[in-house]
Amino acid sequence: MNPGTLDLPSRRGPYNPLAKDNAGGIPQGMGLPGEPRGKPPGKWAGVFGNGRAGMRKRMIVSIASGKGGTGKTTIATSLAAVLGSRAMLLDCDVEEPNCHLFLKPEITYREEVTLPVPVVDTSACTVCGRCGEVCQFSAIVVIGDQVLTFPEMCHGCGGCSLLCPESAIREDARILGILEAGTAGDIEFVHGIVRIGEAMSPPLIKAVKKRIRPEKTAILDCPPGASCPVITTVTGSDFILMVTEPTPFGLHDLRIAIEAVTPLGIPLGVILNRSDVGDDSVCRYCSDIGVPVLMEIPFDRGIAEGYSRGRLLVECSSEYWQRFEEMFARVEELAGSPTEITKEAAV
């Protein structure tokens, strides 16, 4: 591989004002250390043959957190770097995607992701009111002898056009955002960027996830929180890495996030970031509910400064290269067995 490919300019376009105005003064990442990335450790050779018979489907690993700013992107990008050509990274935090700032991918594909929204043919409409009755999202309402549509409220279910007795409603596309794909070195890269002002992110997340290829280990960087965008992202994953920090906020939001994903029955592990800043409540909680803590990352001002410049954790501190390999080996072991969350955890 050529480490130089990582330093290609980040994507251009209306969604990245950063690249236009501000990139000049920001130190570019140093590129990834070529040596370990070019040569995946021998132990993988037998597991992942190159298209040979017996190759198994690789895993989908979601990186989630509950609380924002705990280090999801840090973990996702470094894990992708360590796995190299075996991995693809899909940034599903479509409201504020950041992985591209660290991996600096070369974008080779771009598409608009849209949602079908109603358009009423007033000449055919009899103002019967059926569409307004059917719509659960107040996206189409009948007031007096007028049908009003509110495309920004529409969830694209198609109910109004399907059920209109006069077939007076057709569907037009509302742009939710864009999807971009490309490569960062030998890592495949995909992300979605929601249009500013757009509230519906799940369809865009689904569009990003459609690009998962079974022959790659897919790393999904999740949005923060514990509501529908997170569930949309992690559904179908083989493993969830929850990144948190040992503070009351970190613990509280970790609990909520674990509670949210527990019904999906996906095995879990926790990564404790800034592990020496705070208290031991997260560790105690994890041990109480039987969720393994797979990695601890102590606070290091050098890492924080490197992060601020868009450098990968494994670039800032080389010892992490091996730690990520070991952590991923544990993830592979654990992925087969759903984590048994004890009852207390879900309360």
């Binding site: 935090d93 504020e96 399907l162």
Partner: protein, 287 residues
Amino acid sequence: MKEIVIISGKGGTGKTSLTGCFGLLAEGNVMADCDVDAADLHLLAHPEVWHEEEFSGGVRAAIDPELCTQCGACVEACRFNAITTDFQVDPIACEGCAVCHYVCPVEAVELHEPLCGHWFMSETRFGPMVHAALLPGEENSGRLVALVRNQAKVLAQERNKDLILVDGAPGVGCPVISSVTGADHVLVVTEPSMSGLHDMERAVQLVRGFHIPVSIIINKHDINPEIGGQIEALADSLGIKVLGRIAYDPSVVKELVHGRCVVENGETPAAEDIRRIWKRIQETILT
């Protein structure tokens, strides 16, 4: 009455810690926690809840197997692949659009309104507070945010308070849009990193799209003063005021672990910076 909303774009830049500090420094204010996905302000405010209500926002479908003839009309009409091969509704995939209910020829699909969360009114050391908790994994956070803000306004009127401090959610999506629309001023708390800069820019773009005045606060400024400078230059070019910079200060987390705000612990660097910023807010936004 003024409503000030604190958002960030990027998560973990210090929204809630800062909202707590402002809650202590302000007088005559009502608090609203609109990060209903992962609400944390109560961990600093220590509320005594005196009113609690259930929140349900939207419907879910359920198929009655006794009535269902397995004709497949619902499967064909559902765009969310929420109907399983054995004609059950997957509650996680169900969007609540009710199309299956309307297309079913034998009325086998019932709609129900599941509980989505709770909202509360409380007394706290920051003043009266409206807060909420969305049930984990639920939707409709935007509607719950709107409800919390409305209740905070009602409470402020009843109590004759002239300031509402709103803690917002990360991102630029549904709950954030619902938190900022119609507010008097939005504070964007960012940090000097590539991610902080990138996400702040999107958050600012969102707020300006609604024609709401916005200012910036740079937290953990000394982690990378160079990018801090870029944030200031960007703010300047957009005609946005940077209200101040806050030093990276380990005592913020030390206080947080005990459920306290950094301004409660005398004269640490961050506490000084935050007091200075609050003074500027009083002078420039609250006059």
